[in-house]
C-alpha cells in the first residue's frame, strides 16, 4: 500500500528545459516520484515526495530544485528552540 502524507506541500520543482534525461533521479528517489518519458524526467505524483533531496543533489544538470529537509517533528521543535534549521539531533539523542 502506498502511504501518502499531506497533499500539495512538496517544494519539488523540475525544470524540463534543463533535464538531459539521464535518469539519475529515477535511480535515487525512494518513492518512485520520477519516470523518464520521451527522454525527459517527469514527476508522477508530487504528494509522494518526502523532500529528502537525493534527486536534486544528484542531478548533474541541476534541473531539480527543492527545499531539502527531514520530515521530523522533533527536528522542527529542536530547530525552533535552538534557532537553527530543523535538525533531528541524531547522534546525541536516541532518535533514529
Amino acid at each position: 500500500m502506498t502511504q501518502k502524507y499531506l497533499a500539495s506541500v512538496s517544494t519539488l520543482k523540475l525544470d524540463a528545459a534543463k533535464c538531459t534525461g539521464c535518469g539519475m533521479c529515477v535511480n535515487v528517489c525512494p518513492h518512485a516520484v520520477f519516470i523518464i518519458k520521451d527522454r525527459k524526467a517527469r514527476i508522477t505524483d508530487p504528494d509522494l515526495c518526502m523532500e529528502c533531496g537525493a534527486c536534486s543533489g544528484n542531478c548533474p544538470a541541476e534541473a531539480i530544485s527543492l527545499k531539502k529537509g527531514v520530515g521530523c517533528a522533533t527536528a522542527v521543535i529542536q530547530g525552533f528552540l535552538r534557532g537553527t534549521e530543523p535538525d533531528c539531533g541524531c547522534g546525541d539523542s536516541d532518535c533514529c
Binding site: M1, Q3, K4, Y5, L6, A7, V9, S10, T11, M24, V26, N27, V28, C29, P30, H31, A32, L48, C49, M50, E51, C52, G53, A54, G57, N58, P60, K67, K68, G69, V70, G71, C72, A73, T74, A75, V76, P86, D87, C88, C90, G91, D94, C95, C96
Partner: protein, 322 residues
Amino acid sequence: MSQNAAAPAPLTIQKISSEYTRSDMFAAWKARWGINRAAWRVKPGLYALGSPSADSSVFASANYTLSFNELRKSLKGLDAWILVLDTKGINVWCAAGKGTFGTMELTRSIMESGLDKIVKNKTIILPQLGAPGVAAHRVKVYTGFSVVYGPVRAEDIKDFLSLRGKAAPGMREVKFGFPERIILAPIELVYFGKYLLPAAAILYGLGLKTDALLTLATLLAGTILVPALLPLLPGRSFSVKGAVAGAAALAAVYPLLNLDAYQSAARALFYLPLASFMGMEFTGASTYTSLSGVKKEMRLALPAQALALLSGIAMLIAGRFI
C-alpha cells in the same frame, strides 16, 4: 606490474567476516531498545570481506553497527571491499539527511584508504539511501570513482549484482509495512516511557489510580498502536492518527473505570493531546513525511494540542470545586 600497483596497501585494511552471529543478533536487539548507544559504532575505514582482489566490488557503508552488519550479512559468500564512512554512529539514511554520509566524507574516505591503488575498477556501490547526502557527479570529479547507487535494502544486493547493476522493480522503493513499523515501537516506548512511566508511578503513589492507568494506556497508544496501525488510522496527519489511537485506548479502558460524563470528557481532553503529540513525533521515524508537510501539520496541531490539554486541566481543577 599489477602486483607492484597493489604493493603500497595502507595499514588500515581490516578483515571482516560475513557471519552473522548470536552476539550480532543480541547487539541488534539492544540497539532497537536504545541500550548502550555508544556501542553501536564500527571503526571507519576499509574492510576486506573474504579475500578480495583488485577486481572485487567496493561497497560503502555507515559506521552504525546495524547498517554495517546488514551489508556484510548480505554479501555472504562474496569477496568484496567495504569502505566504512565516519557517520558518527548514525545509520545511512539519517546520516545522508544530515550530510555526514556525504560527498565530502566519501571523498575523504576514498582518498585516505588508498582505494585507487587497491582496485582497478574505479566504481563504488553506495546504498541508495545514501543518495540524499551524496552528489555522485561531484565524487567522480573529486576522486575519479564512479558512484553506483545500489538497492535500498542490503538483502537485494546479490540480485542487483546479478542484474549487472540494474535495480529490479521495487528495489528502489522504501517500504513502510508492518514489520518496518513495529520494529520502531520499542525505541518509541523507551523514549516516551522515560517521562510517562515515572509520571504514572507518581500518580499511583498519590492514590490517583485512574490517572496512572490512563497514562499507561496513552503511552501504549502513542508508541505501539500508532506504529502498528499507522495506515489504518484515519487522516494523513500523524497528530490526527495519534489522537485516534489515544481515543481507541481510552475507549478500551473507560469501561473499567467509574467515571461520570464530566470526568470522562475532562480526561479525554487531557490525554488525547498527549497521544496526538506522540503520533506527531512518529513523523521522524516514518519513511514518507516531508519537512514542508510536518511544518504545516505542526502549525495547526501544536496549538490544538495545547488548547485541549489546558482545557482538560481547567476542567479537572474546576471539577474539584463542583
